[in-house]
């Protein structure tokens, strides 16, 4: 099954690109393809041009960058924690980002400016990082980190539940629930400019760890004896996940399963070393989220389906099928 790396990367990039292009052609306005193509080439009418560049393009870009971050973070965490169950919520990053966003919604700060909610989400992710360092201390064991992360994650989830519990009226609760389901509708370039730098910094920090993640295959002592500083590796990894996933969740709401599933889907196509999985998982995550965001728009329902719901429905069957084939390895 092991594919040539260049072929794998270009196939996944092509998949993400095609999904992105298809998603530009789809939307609730139902404009014909010819008008979108005219708008894209600069000779279209005003309405089509506005829809393409101010609604569909940012939405497509967000699907790609959020998907890439979630996939990459999942792969890096699975490698670092040497645990196939790891994904961004095990260290509390995504749930704490959600809590930050919910705080902004609950207290009404989110209405002041469109950038407030994403900023609160990023602050939430960074707060979870501080808590994680405080609780896990100097321990280098992945289990301590997972246990501390799950405790923080649970606390953040309870915070979200508390906000729902205490919401003054059903509309406030509805607003929070809607956000929690995860979506990319009605996003603008402002959101792209918030998420993109976070994701670039986040993915760069994770890719910096490639070698250390490979060395950790031999356990902590094995990795250190190969010249890896575990302290710096952990710092880069956790800061990368917090900033990147914080920035992603900030604009998309919570979108589960991409971080867990995508690394498993691409791993058999690589040599299975943690470093080889990282970039394909980022590209695969981008492609999968862009495809899910297409499905959200073409499945006819009375309410538009939420992205977080569809990624789970799309990803879990694929994942279970894959698990059945791969189980002898675990």
């Amino acid at each position: 099954m092991h594919m040539n790396r260049a072929l794998l990367l270009s196939t996944l990039a092509l998949l993400a690109l095609v999904a992105g292009l298809i998603s530009l052609a789809i939307g609730p306005a139902g404009l014909p393809l010819s008008r979108m193509i005219a708008a894209a080439t600069g000779s279209g009418d005003r309405i089509a041009t506005t829809i393409l560049f101010e609604l569909r393009l940012p939405r497509m870009l967000l699907a790609l960058i959020v998907g890439a971050m979630l996939g990459g973070a999942g792969a890096a965490l699975q490698g670092y924690l040497r645990n196939p169950l790891a994904e961004p919520s095990v260290i509390g990053a995504s749930t704490s980002a959600s809590l930050g966003a919910v705080i902004a919604l609950y207290f009404g700060f989110a209405q002041l400016h469109a950038a407030i909610l994403p900023l609160f989400a990023i602050l939430g992710a960074l707060a979870s990082l501080v808590a994680l360092f405080a609780f896990s201390g100097r321990s280098e064991s992945p289990l301590t980190l997972i246990l501390a992360g799950i405790a923080i994650s649970t606390l953040a989830t309870s915070g979200v539940s508390l906000a729902l519990n205490m919401s003054p009226n059903p509309f406030a609760a509805m607003e929070i629930t809607n956000w929690l389901l995860g979506a990319l509708e009605d996003r603008s370039f402002q959101h792209v400019w918030i998420a993109l730098p976070c994701v670039i910094v986040g993915l760069a920090l994770l890719l910096w760890n490639c070698r250390a993640l490979d060395a950790l295959t031999l356990g902590e002592d094995g990795a250190r004896a190969l010249g890896v500083s575990l302290k710096r590796t952990r710092l880069r990894l956790l800061v990368g996940v917090a900033i990147g996933v914080g920035g992603a969740v900030a604009v998309s709401g919570s979108i589960g399963f991409i971080g867990l599933i995508v690394p498993h889907l691409v791993r058999p196509l690589t040599d299975r070393s943690p470093s080889a999985v990282l970039l394909p998982a980022a590209l695969g995550g981008a492609a999968l989220l862009a495809m899910a965001d297409i499905l959200v728009r073409i499945i006819p329902t009375t309410n538009e389906l939420k992205l977080g719901v569809v990624t789970a429905f799309l990803g879990v069957p694929v994942f279970l099928f894959h698990l059945a084939r791969e189980r002898r390895l675990w």
Partner: protein, 258 residues
């Protein structure tokens, strides 16, 4: 040739003192066996040499440089380490796994050079795992995996090789094969330090034995001076039968003294 000077080395794990002042001067070209009962501090000594644990006193110098002042990378290039227990978390191919031994030599963000590939091939050949190159390392037998992990350590091509219980999980044939290999590395000029439990193997292959008991050096010298009935009785609490076949010393533990 490389020299490793250990002087008055003290190490504590948490609050428990594990090593209480070890002194030894080790030179390249020799296979050194570290022997002693479980919990005596053998693995801690090995880990201290790699600066994987912080000494609470004394010093370890590699060619005159204190290892605690060396960077992780610098230590990794000079000292290869085969940890105890065959830890392996992902199903890598054997070739990829052995290639991890080249990590200390790679420049940041670069790939394996032809020289690295040759070192990997040499290491696989040495440990007799070339025919396993494309197999999944997690699907190998315990003995095969032990040799693959040894090849991984050999691929570093360091001056010093520390192997913690390299014979665990090996059948008698592969035990002999691994000891021959460690001895060959030593005779090619490396300083090879092996933590061993099999006293017959230690006596037969090691140029020098360090017997550790309760964090102290109970004896240091060749097999004849270290593996005496009185010392074995005191340190291991066993009466052993010793004999010799074809000039090779045999030590067979017979019964407990307590």
């Amino acid at each position: 040739m490389v020299t490793l000077s250990i002087s008055d080395l003290r190490v504590a794990l948490g609050k428990r003192a594990v090593l209480h002042g070890i002194d030894a001067e080790l030179k390249g070209g020799q296979l050194i066996g570290i022997i002693g009962p479980n919990g005596a501090g053998k693995s801690t000594l090995a880990r201290a040499i790699l600066h994987l644990v912080e000494p609470t006193g004394g010093s370890i110098a590699l060619d005159g440089t204190d290892v605690t002042t060396m960077s992780r990378d610098a230590i990794a290039r000079r000292i290869a380490y085969l940890p105890q227990g065959q830890t392996l978390h992902w199903p890598l191919t054997v070739e990829r796994l052995v290639g991890l031994g080249r990590l200390p030599h790679l420049a940041p963000f670069s790939r394996l050079t032809p020289a690295d590939t040759q070192a990997i091939e040499r290491a696989m050949e040495c440990a007799d795992v070339t025919m396993l190159a494309h197999r999944n390392a997690l699907e190998l037998s315990g003995g095969e995996r032990a040799r693959v992990l040894l090849a991984r350590a050999l691929a570093v091509e360091a001056d010093v090789l520390i192997a913690d219980e390299p014979l665990a999980a090996l059948d008698p044939g592969h035990q002999l094969q691994v000891m021959e290999l460690l001895a060959a590395q030593a005779h090619a000029g490396a300083l090879v330090i092996a933590v061993l439990h099999d006293l017959t193997m230690a006596a037969r292959y090691c140029d020098r034995l360090l017997l550790i008991d309760q964090g102290q050096l109970a004896a240091d010298g060749d097999a004849d001076s270290v593996l005496t009935g009185a010392l074995l009785e005191r340190v291991y609490g066993v009466r052993a039968w010793t004999g010799s076949v074809n000039g090779h010393r045999l030590i067979v533990p017979m019964d407990l003294t307590v």
